[in-house]
């Protein structure tokens, strides 16, 4: 227990110092890691606790980003309004769309969410009066916390990560709650869960709504960080990279989500220094992780721990 506390303290110290000691572009990537962790967290809840593959997160990410952009730039409203508007629209859409498509299971559900992402991506492009189309919306103001402007990556880093930690705490509450218990039951045997009066459909829809909330929040944070949003940021490709976060890191583990977010933000950046081959290398790295570590990076950590514990136990005996 004390060693656990010690490691948490070390991690927090590293977290606090990091943006001041790394170059600006790395600090920028760390901001993205925080934003992606929030978006990935929602998908992790669906994947790890409901067994649902959600390929639509870029939709909610886009809704959050456009809500923030539109409210602040076009309407001149405070940024908080954008956050709330994005969240409300995303959650309402997730509820309305979730009800019918969450009746599907397995591959069909994954394809349903993929279709949602494709449609949303096309609409972001078509509705240029709202989204600015490919030209996008620029000049989104930096966030201003009671006069303290978060205009540098190192400043925004703390804000994004505090929001991310809050989201993680909320996700953890959910997993440890009565709802979390019912979710895992449903994942293991939906037949038996139904016989114990668990409302499968309602539960799935509600988690989908929470996932959309996280997606929208991440989108709003992205808009205020990038200052500019356009359709390219909310394509199906983005939905896929969001799904990769829990797949790579480990869907049921919160540190796993962060590890997955680090993977999808940092690896392409480093590999891009190697020239045109970088996309192939990223693909290979991805395949390697998925094939060799089927339960993600955190699953591998768990197995190493179990192996070491077994070896220690063996030595003692």
């Amino acid at each position: 227990m004390t060693s656990r506390l010690f490691w948490i303290a070390v991690a927090l110290a590293v977290w606090a110092v990091l943006p001041f000691v790394v170059p600006r572009n790395i600090a920028d990537l760390l901001v993205f890691t925080g934003i992606y962790s929030i978006a990935g967290l929602g998908i992790g809840l669906l994947l790890g606790h409901c067994g649902i593959v959600n390929l639509a997160q870029a939709t909610f990410y886009g809704l959050g980003a456009y809500a923030s952009a539109y409210c602040t730039v076009m309407m001149g409203l405070p940024s908080a309004v954008g956050f709330v508007a994005g969240a409300v629209i995303s959650m309402a859409l997730a509820y309305v769309i979730g009800r019918p498509i969450l009746r599907l299971t397995g591959y069909f559900l994954a394809l349903g969410t993929l279709a949602l992402s494709a449609i949303a991506s096309a609409l972001f492009f078509e509705w240029d009066w709202l989204t600015g189309g490919t030209l996008g919306i620029g000049g989104i103001p930096k966030l201003d916390l009671f006069g303290f402007v978060l205009d540098r990556p190192s400043r925004y880093y703390f804000f994004v990560w505090i929001v991310a930690f809050a989201c993680m705490a909320v996700a953890r509450n959910l997993v440890n709650s009565r709802t979390g218990l019912m979710l895992r039951a449903m994942r293991d045997s939906s037949t038996a869960a139904a016989s114990l009066s668990i409302d499968l459909q309602g539960l799935r829809t509600r988690v989908f709504v929470v996932c959309a909330l996280f997606g929208s929040l991440a989108g709003s944070l992205f808009a205020h960080h990038a200052s500019f949003v356009s359709t390219q940021s909310f394509t199906v490709d983005r939905s896929i990279s969001f799904l990769l976060i829990p797949v790579i890191g480990g869907a049921t583990s919160i540190p796993g989500i962060v590890a997955g977010a680090v993977f999808v933000t940092f690896l392409p950046e480093f590999l891009s220094k190697l020239g045109d081959i970088h996309q192939i290398l990223f693909g290979l790295a991805l395949v390697a992780v998925v094939v060799m570590l089927p339960d993600g990076l955190m699953g591998a950590v768990g197995r190493i721990r179990a192996w070491r514990a077994a070896r220690r136990g063996g030595d003692a005996g």
């Binding site: 909320v170 509450n173 959910l174 440890n176 709650s177 009565r178 709802t179 979390g180 218990l181 019912m182 895992r184 039951a185 994942r187 293991d188 045997s189 037949t191 038996a192 869960a193 139904a194 016989s195 114990l196 009066s197 668990i198 409302d199 509600r206 929470v210």
Partner: protein
């Protein structure tokens, strides 16, 4: 004193493809009783069970639960009304521990909203504590304490069966539907199961039991024999065993 029926099946008929699996099945389950359903494989026992518990909607007939028509209600609603089943192959939540499995059984006794759970409000924490206490007591009662923290996937068939029953009973059912509870169990475990059925019935839980285990079936007050979707004989076990049609179609003598 004849008890009011807790469950009434009236003229139930069902078909899969061209095959008539159930033909005008009619019987009552009196409140507080143990009713058995026997019949060879393919006689329609499990289909009837699926109809009562809500997994299948029958093509013909009606079912009333405590005097109210049941067939339009979802599986969940039937469960909340106190009608709980087990499965022919025990359906435990494999990746969860024994204790968590039992906790799931208690979940329907409490109500929290998603928002309360997300924010871990005092109400949500209180309910979780209640669920834990109930599950703790149930583990004690069903002698699952030693297995408490094992994943359910590691249990033997007999342990799974008891876990499934514990999980169903902790939710305070009025009518418990047991589907082939003795399958895969050894003689000692069947004896143990028998004791549980009698004890739970003594506590006021009505039991509808499907089995082709004649030994276990002696706990039932009334037994109905299904043969190719029809009830061919009803009565207590002694009567059933003497019935020439039952001997012919079921016992094969």
């Amino acid at each position: 004193m004849p008890a009011e029926p807790i469950l009434s099946l009236n003229e139930i008929g069902h078909r899969f493809g061209g095959l008539n699996v159930l033909r005008s099945v009619t019987f009552d389950v009196p409140e507080g009783g143990i009713v058995g359903l026997i019949g060879p494989n393919g006689s329609g026992k499990t289909t009837l069970f699926n109809i009562v518990s809500g997994y299948i909607r029958p093509l013909m007939g009606t079912v009333a639960y405590r005097g109210v028509p049941l067939l339009r209600d979802s599986i969940q609603k039937r469960g909340l009304a106190g009608l709980v089943r087990t499965f022919q192959t025990p359906q435990v939540f494999e990746q969860m521990t024994v204790f968590e499995n039992v906790m799931v059984g208690c979940a329907k006794l409490t109500r929290t909203t998603m928002l309360q759970d997300l924010l871990r409000t005092p109400a949500a924490r209180g309910q979780m504590r209640d669920i834990r206490e109930l599950a703790e007591a149930a583990c004690e009662r069903f002698h699952l304490k030693g297995l408490r923290d094992l994943p359910a996937a590691s249990l033997t068939a007999g342990q799974r069966r008891i876990l499934e029953i514990a999980r169903a009973v902790v939710g305070k059912p009025r009518l418990l539907l047991l589907d082939e509870p003795s399958s895969g169990l050894n003689a000692q475990e069947i004896e143990n199961l028998r004791d549980w059925i009698v004890r739970l019935n003594g506590e006021g839980i009505t039991i509808l039991l499907v089995s082709h285990d004649m030994g276990l079936m002696t706990v039932a007050h009334t037994v109905h024999t299904l043969y190719f979707g029809e009830i061919v004989a009803s009565g207590d076990m002694a009567t059933i065993q003497r019935d020439p049609r039952v001997r012919e179609v079921y016992l094969g003598v």
